[in-house]
């Protein structure tokens, strides 16, 4: 699955995005929400990296920070060989055509006062010097590509269904022939039949235009369908990153195991036999994460060291990264089996 010759198109190193909290009469800075706290990953050319995690774990913030829609706290982001982590917003403008975004809520991400044509045309207006007729032709081509009738170009977003609106959003993201698209839960606001359409459309477009996706979602089965590799986030950190098949067949991190056990099993006899791992308690506040491992407050296989030392995020097998103490002391001798045994005892 992992082709060694592939080079990373996007490379994120220790990305941190903290939002300050101001409180009190003098609006003093009393702390910060560590929405994304030290995230590192690579996205290889032509692949789809799925980013999963529960609500509020920092997935969307991470996606937006990678595109530098926020001014990040620290870290390095390189897209297509250019370092953009510290570039000022005005200088980023010329980089924008390479990286685009598809948003979660297709209703909110389209300006209600603009026609479909104007919405899809906006990137062309900003970055190209085409004539009006050429732009109109290009908009027509994009509408064909995402399966929208060209006749609807003069209509406004409110006249479309959710799936059609999401197609408009995808057409807008495609307008400048980007290399990298962040899909921020593009299917979360759609009903199931439309979800499949949109995901298939995204796959077709990936094949057609050679796109690279960062696919953010909380829908594990959809990620399993579309992603080549999957990263699991918990409380602002990536706890596990692995090739899709490996992750779904043999999850390493206890949180990934719990997450995967929550996926409904369609076969009733299998469903009865599988044991669900039910996590106790709530996600700690990202403004005040626990000492040591972020997951230590809810982890079924928690150890003493977890509450003191933060586990290092590292490659435990080729292509499989995780941040868990279960795999740290045994790695050089027995590989993952010891870790699994330890896991089995505690469960």
């Amino acid at each position: 699955m992992l082709d060694a010759t592939k080079k990373p198109l996007v490379s994120v190193k220790d990305l941190k995005m903290h939002f300050p909290i101001y409180a009190g009469l003098l609006r003093r800075r009393v702390g910060e929400v560590k929405a994304v706290d030290g995230v590192s990953f690579d996205v290889f050319e032509g692949e789809t990296l799925g980013l999963v995690g529960e609500s509020g774990c920092g997935k969307s913030t991470c996606g937006r920070a990678v595109l530098r829609l926020y001014d990040i706290t620290s870290g390095a982001i390189s897209i297509d060989g250019r370092e953009i982590g510290a570039t000022p917003q005005t200088a980023l403008r010329e980089m924008r055509p390479t990286m685009q975004m598809v948003f979660q809520d297709p209703q909110a991400s389209l300006n209600p006062r603009m026609t479909v044509e104007n919405i899809i045309k906006e990137p062309l207006d900003e970055h190209t010097k085409l004539s009006d007729a050429e732009k109109r032709e290009k908009v027509g081509e994009l509408m064909d590509a995402v399966g929208l009738n060209r006749k609807f170009a003069k209509r406004y977003p409110h006249a479309f269904s959710g799936g059609q609106r999401q197609r408009i959003g995808i057409a807008r993201a495609l307008a400048l022939n980007p290399k990298f698209i962040v899909c921020d839960e593009p299917i979360a606001a759609l009903d199931v039949s439309i979800q499949a359409q949109v995901v298939n459309l995204l796959e077709d477009l990936q094949e057609q235009f050679g796109l690279t996706y960062l696919f953010i979602s909380h829908d594990l089965s959809m990620v399993r369908h579309i992603a080549t590799r999957v990263a699991v986030m918990y409380l602002g950190k990536i706890v596990e990153l692995a090739p899709r098949d490996g992750l779904y067949a043999d999850p390493l991190h206890p949180y990934t195991k719990a997450l995967l056990s929550a996926v409904p099993e369609p076969d009733p006899s299998l469903a009865r036999s599988t044991q669900r791992i039910i996590l106790k308690g709530d996600v700690p506040s990202p403004s005040n994460p626990p000492e040591g491992c972020n997951f230590c407050t809810r982890c079924p296989s928690v150890m003493d060291i977890c509450k003191r030392v933060e586990p290092e995020y590292r490659e435990v097998h080729p292509g499989r990264f995780t941040a868990c103490h279960l795999y740290n002391d045994t790695i050089d001798t027995a590989g993952s089996t010891a870790g699994h045994e330890a896991e089995g005892h505690t469960q």
Partner: protein
């Protein structure tokens, strides 16, 4: 009758069938969006009446003096206190004359000529001051709402102006700047500029506050973030995404602003600090006639009617325009 019925139904079908080729043609050559706006505007009855009345009153005060060539300032003591024509219906002894259909005032000046002349000034002052106030209010509101760094400064400045007592401020402005402006631009233009600027810079604050609030809410919407991900610079973000979406509150404050401007001008004229005394405006005609209102109600009625109907008409137009400019209501 029977063989006519299919004929008429076919006739009915044709106009309904006509617009069908239009959307297809729109793929090649886009239909002008202002036509859609006009189509929606036409469905708002009040707005159409308002527009009709506004056109009528504008023609009345602009073309009117060409047709009704009576000098509004000409004194004719012999024909003073002529009642309007309709008084002849109630009172056969009333002093009426076809030469003065709306009557004359206590100095024998023709009221219709005065209303025309006064309307020119009142409408010019109202529109110019309103446009100035809305422009200022929108500018300050958008800047404060969009650029967080300017917010505190601009909004405290707005609060400062809001807390000033406006009428005394205007009076002081009149006293300070009347003579230099008169010397620079002539007596009438000088006063006009002074009044318009005075009203304009003292009535933008409400607009600024409303616009700021709306801009702050809009700024957090996802389509603004989407535009940012495209690389749209702030100035085009404002003109393309923010302004069209705050059009409704701006339109409402504009229509209210026109009314306020006309009335403030009347108040200034009443205090003797507006236009010179031989210079009629609707407000001044109204206030000049108040003391003899019981004997001659028509002298209050005509300018009062002109002011309130104009304001009402503009309100309705604003209402209709706001609906017509909203694609969701337009149903496209």
């Amino acid at each position: 009758m029977t063989d006519r019925a299919p004929q008429s139904s076919a006739d009915n079908l044709l106009p309904a069938g006509d617009p069908v080729p239009l959307p297809i043609a729109a793929v090649e050559k886009p239909r002008n969006q202002w036509l859609d706006v006009w189509d929606q505007f036409k469905t708002h009855k009040g707005a159409v009446f308002g527009l009709g009345f506004l056109i009528f009153i504008t023609l009345f005060v602009t073309i009117g003096p060409w047709l009704w060539q009576v000098d509004p300032g000409k004194l004719d003591i012999r024909n003073k206190d002529v009642r309007p024509l309709y008084m002849a219906l109630f009172d056969s002894d009333a002093k009426v004359s076809w030469a003065n259909p709306m009557g004359t005032d206590n100095l024998g000046r023709d009221i219709m000529a005065n209303i025309m002349q006064g309307g020119r000034i009142s409408l010019a002052v109202g529109w110019t001051a309103m446009i100035l106030a809305v422009f200022l209010g929108t500018l300050i509101g958008v800047l404060a709402g969009y650029f967080r760094r300017l917010d505190g400064l601009l909004m405290r400045f707005t609060d400062l102006v809001l807390s000033l007592p406006l009428l005394p401020l205007l009076l002081v402005m009149m006293l300070l700047f009347r003579d230099p402006l008169r010397a620079a631009f002539g007596p009438e233009n000088g006063i006009f500029i002074l009044i318009v600027v005075g009203i304009g810079i003292t009535s933008w604050m409400q607009t600024a506050r409303i616009v700021r609030g709306d801009v702050m809410a809009l700024k957090e919407r996802e389509f603004v973030l989407a535009a940012r991900s495209i690389g749209t610079p702030p100035r085009r973000m404002i003109t393309r995404h923010i302004l069209p979406n705050v059009l409704s509150p701006i339109m409402v404050s504009a229509t209210l602003g026109l009314a306020t401007a006309i009335i403030t001008e009347s108040a200034l004229s009443f205090l003797g600090l507006g236009f010179p005394s031989d210079f009629p405006t609707w407000g001044k005609i109204l206030f000049d006639s108040v003391d003899r209102m019981t004997a001659f109600p028509e002298r209050v009625l005509w300018p009062g009617l002109a002011i309130s109907l104009t304001v009402l008409a503009v309100n309705y137009i604003g209402d209709g325009l706001r609906d017509a400019l909203d694609p969701r209501i337009r149903g496209l």
